[in-house]
Assembly symmetry: C2
Homo-oligomer: 233 residues x 2
């Protein structure tokens, strides 16, 4: 037998940052209306009941949020961009669209979006191998590890790092199928609101990409702010 | 606590077909040059050593092959379309392109393609929920279950059902990002050859989609033929 070529597990982080020790609470629950900050380069997990709305505020305007969601109690059923593209018949999403899981169940609806509505559902989240390929030496904060750490901080082990909903990430696809990494079209103070169609865990990462212009032409990662609104009754 | 909403596991099949009991061998190894058939609507797994070339023959011409690959000994490191798109800067692939894993390692190179080169790397593989949404009643053969069964038939448990490399699947993306499900451009007798850049398990599913035209305008699923060529020495 040929020896195994790799010891990769989806739970293992390539390195660590403040994401690991700073969950919003031990189980990811956050009182409605209470604002919380995702520091630049970090991630946070938050629990949503079915019907809750998650608001994400792009205070600086140029910061991408890598967004993930897992069905409550079932980390193997996750928000899936490939199933969402199939459901929508499009490679873009916008206000009014519902994103689905890998079991094709509606999970997240984009109910408000004050930005021009440019988001990405095509590109993998950044990870340590990506930064190594871009020429970075040593550990670089990354959205894959932020996803892992944010979940582990509330006692959940990821079973796979899914392709994210990259909020405000601007990856225009040309007619020949090629695309570029360009600066967001969102502005300071823009927000997006996402409604949970099922009870779920959401993970947001303030993308630490500073080697391409995805977080603005000054490539400086910034913080994000989020809170929950819960329907009455 | 809210009760779990789902009991999904990536190992569980929604139903079964001949894929489960008919592996090419107990460990997926196939002697070089020995032709093997994937019956219509079924899947097969095959082991490739690094450097091996896998030939897939579209004998009828209109049959899509959903293709997956896992690094040998590490089913969590898998061929990843979202990482491949990032590596190529394109939503299409063709002859000469190398597809990478979710750790961004080169895994599969398209070394020969006699077809016009129209393939898909955007769409999720079909599954039981997809056919239910299309209006089918009861179990329908599907590529997700074929992937699971083909691996389980050689003693490997999947940890996730990845987004596939849909060989010969024709999903043209328009300038506005919308796309259509259309018939393959491949012709009877076309083949593709894929070279393993690492030792891996490949899974092929002769897509059983008969409710959209992805397998031709007559929507009749057909068989596929495959074999391995091994470099001398």
């Amino acid at each position: 037998m040929t020896e195994p070529q790799s010891a990769y597990t989806p739970q293992h982080c390539d390195g660590y940052n403040g994401t690991r020790g700073n969950p919003v609470s031990s189980n990811g629950r956050l009182p409605p209306g209470q604002r919380s900050t995702i520091p630049a380069r970090e991630g946070r997990a938050v629990h949503l009941n079915k019907g809750d709305r998650l608001f994400i505020l792009n205070e600086k305007g140029h910061q991408v949020c890598d967004f993930f969601a897992l069905v409550h109690g079932c980390p193997a059923e996750m928000l899936s961009m490939e199933h969402t593209r199939t459901a929508l018949g499009r490679v873009y999403v916008g206000e009014g669209d519902t994103l689905v899981t890998n079991r094709r169940r509606p999970l997240i609806e984009i109910v408000e979006d004050t930005s021009p509505g440019v988001h990405d559902i095509l590109i993998a989240c950044c990870d340590q191998p990506r930064y190594a390929q871009l020429g970075h030496e040593g550990y670089h904060d990354n959205c894959a590890d932020n996803f892992r750490m944010a979940l582990q901080a509330i006692g959940v082990e990821p079973v796979h790092v899914p392709s994210p909903f990259n909020i405000w990430m601007n990856i225009p696809v040309a007619g020949d199928g090629t695309f570029q990494w360009t600066a967001p079209t969102s502005q300071a103070g823009d927000h997006i609101a996402l409604e949970a169609k099922e009870t779920c865990l959401c993970v947001m990462s303030a993308c630490p990409q500073d080697m391409t212009p995805v977080n603005g032409n000054d490539t400086q990662p910034a913080h994000l702010i989020f809170w929950i609104e819960r329907p009455a009754g």
